[in-house]
């Protein structure tokens, strides 16, 4: 029986990437080929050929997908799944020393559920408890693999900043004005303070960088000075100053977005994405001029005061001003149907289906700097693919299969078929445990 269980677990792990041909599908490439009816050939984990007619390699597995839709794997630019032991280091205002990479939890069932919703890549962010939060990175949803194997290789790492109500923590005993319950309140308690924390941190980071640059220069001259102390907190900000780390800023209001742009430009770095940015439409021109992207919600707002002046046309208006826009989940449940979030953009703002789907595929890929390898169905890119049984942005469509790097990680039929086996195994273990408990061995405290 243990064997069966082991077998089931092994069967869950995807097979090695094989050569496959998905044929007769409606392919929404999100690339230069647009939408066409035809085939996609996957070889060695990459997309080898696409077109209405393709050469079928010998020995390839044929997937007949007549009437079905194939899209690039969905990319969520803002997620908090797959972490162990908390997603916020909320005790301090600058927690740039912490890193999501250290706490990746490949066993989080949310990964599998996201996968079943067509998500193949997610940007795992630190929470928004502090002005400067922790280091972040994108993961591929390679369910069944180890933590290290989930990491999106070669992707530029990021860092989370947060503005507004969350970092000033109004009402939270951990800081801000809600200090009544705590002996020591955490600075800052106002939006002014949030800006100050960020600027102050970069003053320190510049000093730190200068120390290291001076040291590096001496070493280059052949001297052997004692190196400066490595400070993980400032090290991450030094990487921001050097352009080696993307800044993702949690924000809502137009004024704080402008504040952040000024603070970044004064300090010589760029904001890669404004996250949420529900008032982004008010300052779209300025965001576009700074060169930042926006990752927002489709139609979710008014859940707090600073989210009150949002409109569902945000994504469309920003796009029209030349901003790269993605739609994100920020939530394990919403993450399972980002396809329909994209679909809403067709209603609000009149986007066409390619533009709408781009907001959960190629656009987040561009925001995360991974569009050379994912985000669209193009020859040479990673074979991260999702097969739907109908139009992918319809509420009624279901994900049938998901591939990452050409390996199949989700199969709806198999998932359903496996459920009975798992239930039976669960019942067996429960029964075994109960019969064990009936034995006369006395357990203290039971």
């Amino acid at each position: 029986m243990k064997r069966i269980l082991l077998g089931t677990l092994l069967a869950l792990a995807p097979l090695c990437a094989e050569t496959i041909v998905i044929q007769n599908a409606t392919v929404m490439t999100e690339g230069p080929q647009g939408i066409f009816k035809g085939s996609v050939v996957v070889k060695d984990g990459k997309i080898a050929e696409i077109g209405e007619k393709v050469m079928v390699p010998a020995g390839a597995t044929i997937i007949e997908a007549g009437g079905q839709y194939l899209i690039p794997g969905i990319i969520d630019c803002h997620s908090h799944i797959a972490g162990s032991g908390g997603i916020n280091e909320g005790s301090v205002s600058v927690s740039s020393m912490v890193n999501i990479r250290d706490i990746i939890n490949p066993d989080d069932i949310a990964i599998y559920r996201a996968l079943a919703g067509g998500v193949t890549t997610a940007n795992i962010l630190h929470g928004s408890a502090n002005s400067i939060g922790g280091q972040t990175l994108p993961l591929k949803m390679r369910w069944g693999k180890s933590a290290q194997e989930m990491i999106f290789a070669g992707a530029t790492p990021g860092i989370k900043f947060a503005l507004g109500e969350n970092p000033k923590r109004s009402g939270n005993p951990q800081g801000g004005r809600g200090a009544g319950a705590a002996p020591v309140a955490r600075y800052p308690a106002t939006r002014m303070g949030v800006e100050d924390v960020i600027r102050e941190a970069f003053n320190d980071a510049k000093g730190y960088k200068a120390d290291w640059d001076a040291y590096d220069a001496k070493v280059a001259k052949g001297e052997h000075p004692i190196p400066p102390r490595t400070d993980l907190k400032l090290q991450a900000l030094k990487e921001v100053l050097e352009g080696k780390r993307y800044v993702h800023v949690h924000c809502y209001r137009a004024d704080e977005i402008l504040m952040m742009i000024r603070a970044a430009e004064d300090n010589g770095f760029k904001v890669r994405t404004f996250q949420h940015a529900l008032e982004g439409y008010k300052v779209a021109k300025e965001i576009a001029a700074h060169g930042a992207g926006v990752s927002t919600f489709s139609d979710w707002w008014a859940y707090k005061i600073e989210a009150i002046d949002a409109i569902p046309f945000n994504a469309a208006l920003l796009t029209k001003k030349g901003v790269i826009v993605s739609l994100n989940s920020d939530d394990a449940e919403l993450m399972r149907h980002l396809n329909t979030e994209a679909g809403k953009a067709m209603k609000y703002g009149g986007m066409n289906e390619t533009e709408a789907l781009a907001m959960v595929t190629i656009n987040p890929a561009r925001q995360l700097g991974i569009d050379k390898t994912v985000g669209s169905i193009e020859v040479g890119k990673d074979a991260d693919l999702v097969l739907y049984d109908g139009f992918p942005m319809s509420d009624f469509s279901k994900v049938l299969k998901v591939w990452i790097d050409g390996a199949q990680y989700f199969d709806r039929d198999k998932a359903i078929a496996d459920q009975a086996t798992k239930e039976a195994e669960k019942q067996r273990l429960l029964d075994k445990e109960k019969s064990g408990q009936r034995q006369p061995t006395r357990r203290p405290n039971q």
């Binding site: 032991g85 908390g86 280091e89 005790s91 927690s95 912490v98 890193n99 490595t230 993980l232 075994k432």
Partner: protein, 467 residues
Amino acid sequence: MKKLLVFSLLWCCAYALAEAPSTVAIRNAKIVTVSGPVIAKGTVIVRNGLIEAVGESVAVPPDAWVVDGEGMTVYPGLIDALSTVGMPGAAPAAAAGGGRAGRGSTATQTAPAAAQTTPATRSWGPEDRPQTTSWLLAADELQAGDRRVETVRSSGITTAVTFPTRGIFAGQGSVIDLVSGEKPAEMVVVPAAGQYLSLGSGRGFGGGGGGGGFPSSLMGIIAYIRQLYLDADHYKLVKDAYAKDPRGMQRPEYDRALEGLLASQRILLPANQLIEIDRMLRFGAELKQPMILYGAREAYRPEAAELLKKANATVLVSLRWPTPPARSADSDDSNETLRTLEERDQAPSAPAVLQKAGVKFALYSDGTDAPRDFQRAVKKAIDNGLSRDEALRALTLSPAEIYGISDRVGSIETGKIANLVVTKGEIFDDRTQVVMVFVDGKKYTPEVAAPGGRGGAAATAEPGGNQ
């Protein structure tokens, strides 16, 4: 006459006071040396706290007190590879949270002297050295009068590697022999056995009470540990340069937290789940510290054993096997995951799996060190595939090797410390009776275990606490 002597040895001391004949001969006993073959019938001579001789035909010295071992088996004294016995404030109640949720918990219970040195003020970053008492040595904190010493010894445990367990860097453990003496110093075998680390259970908003400061999440704790080792490296660099030539150089500030790190020859890191094993193996390698993983609840998973083998890791497996939550008759079982159920079912097979995979491991009590609890816990590992010999080794020679003390304890060999367990019946068996225990050559008669188990340690929360 001899019989009478044995009889009196067994019964004269109601309260397990050590008797101190300087020379003892146990003869006609089965001797399980662990390091060598079993001697079916032989003699062990104990003199001045050491094993003077062992063998089939060893002459009994004329001055020896003779124990007739007919029908008895002599084993090496058992070693609890991770314990808190003898540590002040580590008594069952006070250890609750055992360094896990115990951040800044100085205000609770009878805080040990050690913890009082950590101010309860909120930490604003790594520079405040939060939850750190790395400079502590268990040997300096020992309480000779700890009643647990006697209970634990009654299980056949003669040696414990006992640790301070509060905070992230709790301090160094010490190897102690469980003698009941006036002076704690008599117990100490090795004062510095390694730095005990724990990773807390915060959720990022300072949960878990205390000051609520940094670090409050797992990633915060990991970042803090990483920073402290970077600081220790730098500290050493600067200190060495200053020692070499202090002229014209600002003197480095003394930092006892870093001194504690630099003084530790190995670290103990917690790892129960497969992902934690993976994570901590990587982390320990990154820190470049010789490490021991403790917990190992999911080590039964083939992937885990494979990782451990590949890393050539050393593991301490907790004997506190997971137990089902209390269920009412009408409770809904379905909210427990298959994985949780599987873990409960298979955790006790972890030692057998590690054994098969060739991973270096030892067992530790994790608080299940009262005689009946301990015996049952070890038996469970045996029932789940661990051979008796290996179970014994995992509680004797293996932990001795892990801590680098196999030249003095862990087996019955000439010249080693006379730590012995004498039983009627096979050790770890249900009906087996521990007849006497020798620690440093001193003979103790165990507490008479109440039938069905005293459960004295049932409520202890322990280092590496598997709860």
